[in-house]
Amino acid sequence: MSSETITSALFMIAAVTSASILIATILPVIFGMSQTFGAVSDKQDSRLRTDLSIINTFARSSDKTGQIWIKNTGSTRISASEIAGTSVFFGKSDDFEMLIYSGALAAGTWTNESVGEKWDPGETLAINVQSSAGKVWSGGNEMYVSFALPNGVRRSEKFDAV
C-alpha cells in the first residue's frame, strides 16, 4: 500500500513537471505566432491601403534637375519619416541611379516640398531630383523615375527630358 502511494506520488510529480515544462516551452511559441499574425495583417493592411500616382514629371538637361509630382491616391496617410525613407531612382532610362534623400538639393540627391507631418490622401507631393555629376543626359532623352515607399509600394514613369 505504501509503495503504491509513493509510486503514484512520483508519477504525479513527473506529470506536473512535464506539463509545466511543456507549457513553458510551447506558450511563448504560441504568443510569438500570435504577434506574427498581427504584424503580418498590419503590413498587408498598410500595403493594400497605400497607393500613389505620378501626376506630372519634368527634367531639365541644363542643370540635370527634375521635378516630380506624386499624388497619394490611397486611403492611408504617409508620415514624413516614411517619405524620407523612400527610395528614389532617377536618370536616363538606360542609366539611372538611386538618389540620396537630402534637406537641400545637390548632385545625386532628392528633396521633397513639405506636406506637413503627414501626406494625406488626395494631397500632392512635389519632389526635386538632381543627377550625379558623372551622369550624362540631354534634351530629348528618355528619362526614368521610380518612387518606392518603405512598405514596397512603388510607382515609376518614363518621360522625355528638355
Binding site: T7, S8, F11, M12, A14, A15, V16, S18, A19, L22, I23, I26, L27, I30, F31, M33, S34, T36, F37, G38, V40, S41, D42, Q44, D45, L48, R49, D51, S53, I55, N56, F58, R60, Q67, W69, K71, T73, G74, S75, D120, P121, G122, E123, T124, A126, V162
Partner: protein, 165 residues
C-alpha cells in the same frame, strides 16, 4: 497513476485549446483585415472608374487665367483642396497651383463660378464646394503670362489637359 494520467491529459487538452484558439484567431484576424483592405481598394477603383473631368474652356484676361472644367463623370468632386491645377509656360516646366480662395497670391488657384446648364441651356449658379455630375467650375489663377498648356488633376489622380497654343 490514474491521477497523473488525468493531470497530463488535462494539461494537454488545455494546451491544444490555447494553440487552436491562437491559430484560428490569428488566421481570422488576418483574413478580416485583408478583406477590409480589399473592400477599400474596390471602393477606390469604383470611384476612379466613375471619375472624369473635361476642360471646357480657358481664358486669359488682365493677368488672370481662368479654366472651366466640367464634371463629366458620375462621381462628385468633393474636395477642392486637392484639385490640382498645373500650368505650363514657354519653358515647358509645369507649375502646380493648389486651391486657396485668394486671387492675390500667385501660387494658388481660386474658385470662381460653380454652375450647371438646365434643359433650356440657361446657366444656373450654385453655391457650395461640391462639383456634382454635369456641373461646371471656374478655376482662376493670377499669372504673368498666358500659359501654353493646362492640366487639372482630381484628388484621386484623374487628369484632363489641354494645349492652348
Amino acid at each position: 497513476m490514474a491521477g497523473a494520467t488525468l493531470i497530463a491529459t488535462v494539461f494537454a487538452v488545455i494546451l491544444l485549446i490555447i494553440a487552436g484558439y491562437v491559430l484560428v484567431a490569428g488566421v481570422l484576424k488576418v483574413n478580416e483585415v485583408v478583406v477590409a483592405a480589399q473592400k477599400d481598394i474596390t471602393d477606390r477603383e469604383v470611384k476612379l472608374i466613375h471619375t472624369s473631368i473635361r476642360i471646357n474652356s480657358t481664358s486669359y484676361e488682365g493677368g488672370i487665367f481662368t479654366v472651366t472644367i466640367e464634371n463629366s463623370g458620375n462621381e462628385p468632386i468633393n474636395n477642392l483642396t486637392y484639385l490640382d491645377l498645373y500650368l505650363y509656360d514657354s519653358s515647358t516646366q509645369p507649375k502646380l497651383y493648389t486651391y486657396l480662395q485668394d486671387l492675390s497670391t500667385t501660387d494658388h488657384w481660386s474658385r470662381g463660378d460653380l454652375y450647371y446648364l438646365d434643359k433650356s441651356g440657361i446657366v444656373k449658379f450654385l453655391t457650395g464646394n461640391h462639383v456634382e455630375e454635369g456641373m461646371y467650375l471656374n478655376m482662376s489663377v493670377r499669372t504673368g503670362t498666358s500659359p501654353t498648356n493646362v492640366k487639372v488633376v482630381t484628388e484621386n489622380g484623374i487628369a484632363a489637359s489641354k494645349r492652348l497654343i
